[in-house]
């Protein structure tokens, strides 16, 4: 009898310890995020990263998005913008950013823009600094809702209705760096991405795959790229004072 109680109790305490361990991990993650703070300083002799991203291999054939609702306004189909590649392979909508940078230029003063237009988000992808404001607007007569979520956990950041044409609203982004996936629940094909970083050294490739990151304090960094389908890649980059470095980055089509 007494042995029975003892055995059960020890099983129980093992379980209790496991619970405590899980809580412990959660707490340490928070501490880690809180410590990663960015320091603003004057950058007088910064370098420039002026590069391009090209897609190797043929972009896979993309079926047009079939519009399932509000066809009278949105049309029957919309071209899939996942791979936007120009004639020389330049890949648009890639976020290029530095890792391991803890001090440098000030945060952008202007809010981001995110426009609901022709039943799509524009731009498709963009970078942002933590806590930056985003101005969300609609050019459409149908109801949209702009619903950013933490891409990893799917946690809602906010969810704002854009009930009619010409409406706009400005909202702050989260205080923690994260990848944000924006959706419109009313039109399930609408997506956008915002990469939120704790520093302002990021850029998005233009239609020809070109990007520029300015005022980088001299040093060696990791340059990383992210594309919604082609994935991520990173490589070291050395930035010298007053110089321009021109990395050519390739991403393989998936």
């Amino acid at each position: 009898m007494l042995n029975g109680i003892g055995a059960a109790a020890s099983r129980h305490s093992v379980f209790a310890r496991a619970c405590v361990a899980v809580v412990g991990v959660g707490a340490s993650l928070v501490t880690h995020q809180a410590l990663a703070s960015y320091e603003v300083m004057a950058v007088t002799n910064g370098g420039t990263i002026d590069g391009s991203v090209t897609l190797t291999g043929a972009a896979p054939g993309q079926a047009a998005i079939k519009v399932s609702k509000n066809q009278d306004y949105c049309g029957q189909t919309i071209p899939d913008p996942a791979y936007t590649v120009d004639s020389s392979g330049g890949l648009a909508n890639v976020i290029v950013y530095l890792k391991d940078i803890t001090k440098g230029k000030a945060a952008p003063a202007e809010p981001l823009a995110l426009v609901n237009t022709k039943c799509m988000f524009s731009p498709r992808v963009q970078g942002a600094m933590v806590s930056q404001q985003v101005k969300i607007s609609s050019d459409d007569t149908v109801l949209h809702n702009t619903h950013p979520q933490n891409a990893e956990t799917n946690a809602t950041i906010f969810n704002v209705a854009l009930p009619f044409k010409g409406f706009s609203v400005t909202k702050p982004l989260p205080t923690m760096p994260m990848m944000i996936k924006v959706k419109c629940d009313a039109h399930e094909w609408m997506h956008a991405w915002i990469m939120e970083l704790d520093h302002p050294y990021y850029a998005t490739t233009s239609a020809d795959g070109h990007f520029t990151i300015k005022d980088v304090p001299p040093g060696t960094y990791t340059l990383a790229v992210w594309h919604e389908v082609a994935g991520e890649k990173s490589a070291p980059v050395v930035v010298a004072a007053g110089q321009t470095v021109k990395p050519k980055i390739t991403l393989a089509a998936k």
């Binding site: 009898m1 029975g4 109680i5 059960a8 109790a9 129980h12 379980f15 209790a16 619970c19």
Partner: protein
Amino acid sequence: MTGKGSLRVMLQVALFAVVTFVFVSPASAIPAFARKYSLRCTACHEAWPVLNDFGRNFRDNGYQLRLGKDDTVTAEPGYWPVAVHVLPSYTYTKVTNQPTDQGTKTLGSGGVGDASIDLLMAGVLTPNISFLVVPTGFASDGNVHLESYWAYFSRVIKNSDWLNIRIGQFEMDLPASSHRNLEMTDSYLLYSYHPSVPGGANISAYDMGENQRGIEIVGHDRDSLTRYAISVFSAHDSLGSSNGLSSPSFYGHLQKYFRFNEGPVSQFELGVWGALANYPTQFLTSGGTPIPGSGSHLQSSTRYGMEANLWLGPLVAPLHLDLVYGHGKDKQDLFAGTADRAGTFNGGFLEAIWVPPTDLLHWSVFGRYDVIRNQNQPLIAAPANFNDQNQWTLGMKYTIAYSIRDEVALHAEVSSNKAKGVGDGGLDQRTDSIMFGVDFVY
């Protein structure tokens, strides 16, 4: 003592054993509700099977959480309102000063009891009409009886909790339930005690802890912090009476809970209660057996008193103290001509339940001290302290697992009762018990 006398004492001991057995078996914990509402047993039970505030409110509301999941229509189709409760246990009991042909002896006996099963069937029939049916028995003697059966009409006045009606056989609204208590080796002396004439009889077998047949009116505020219950019943063990109209009995209980948002006391309760059980003392007989319904000359057993409950520490894992005092009186004629006067006594108990603040609330530790002090012996010549009793119980329960489906717990308990002058040759008698059991319910 003569051989006839020893037979009588033996019969009394046997009766005591049967009574003990009955008290061991029916304890209510109804996993059907856990299944229905997806809650663990702990949601309604402070320490299973003792109800907590949430469980009391749920029961007062007619087994309804009042949120749309109570209806038979919205319940999961797989839900079936039946639960099984079994408590196989080993009990050893030692009784001193028993008469034998070889002289006064202390006798002990132990064994794994012939466990019985409670089938608990309870639920909501339609909004605001609920039911409970508990067949008990199924032991090797083959007997099954309905321990409890009732229908409960809640909110008889629209949107008011102050009038609810229960009809059937049910437990009285006692200061501490004798069907949902933790102790298994003894009973609440205050509920079952009767003054007695040494070797004599008492027509009243009224036991406050026994379920009775009748009607109960219950009212409470929304959170069941102020409550009343009034029952009209016919004590079902009365001779020569077949219905409540010929021997009406009454029980009432009024209680109020007080809560404190700061300090070591989290909740306090005060209550008053009283019972008047009438028994016919004269009957027409047929072949010496009383004819049902022919009883007359009603005589009463009265019991009344008050209670106080105190919860120390957080209500979720409290030290719960329950102090109950009562005064009892059995009228002279209940003693079938053997008494000189009415018998009166005072009694009560202090019960403590501690739920240690451990992870998942697996433990409960409990104890009780019962006291009976006779005031007027019905036989003036009897010793003033004849059958005065002191009784203590200590136990602990470890719940191996709770889930929304079942619960299984280990139960260990010791108890000791000392009664003045009831042993062989007027000696005191002491009864000690120890018990280990596995209590499970599905």
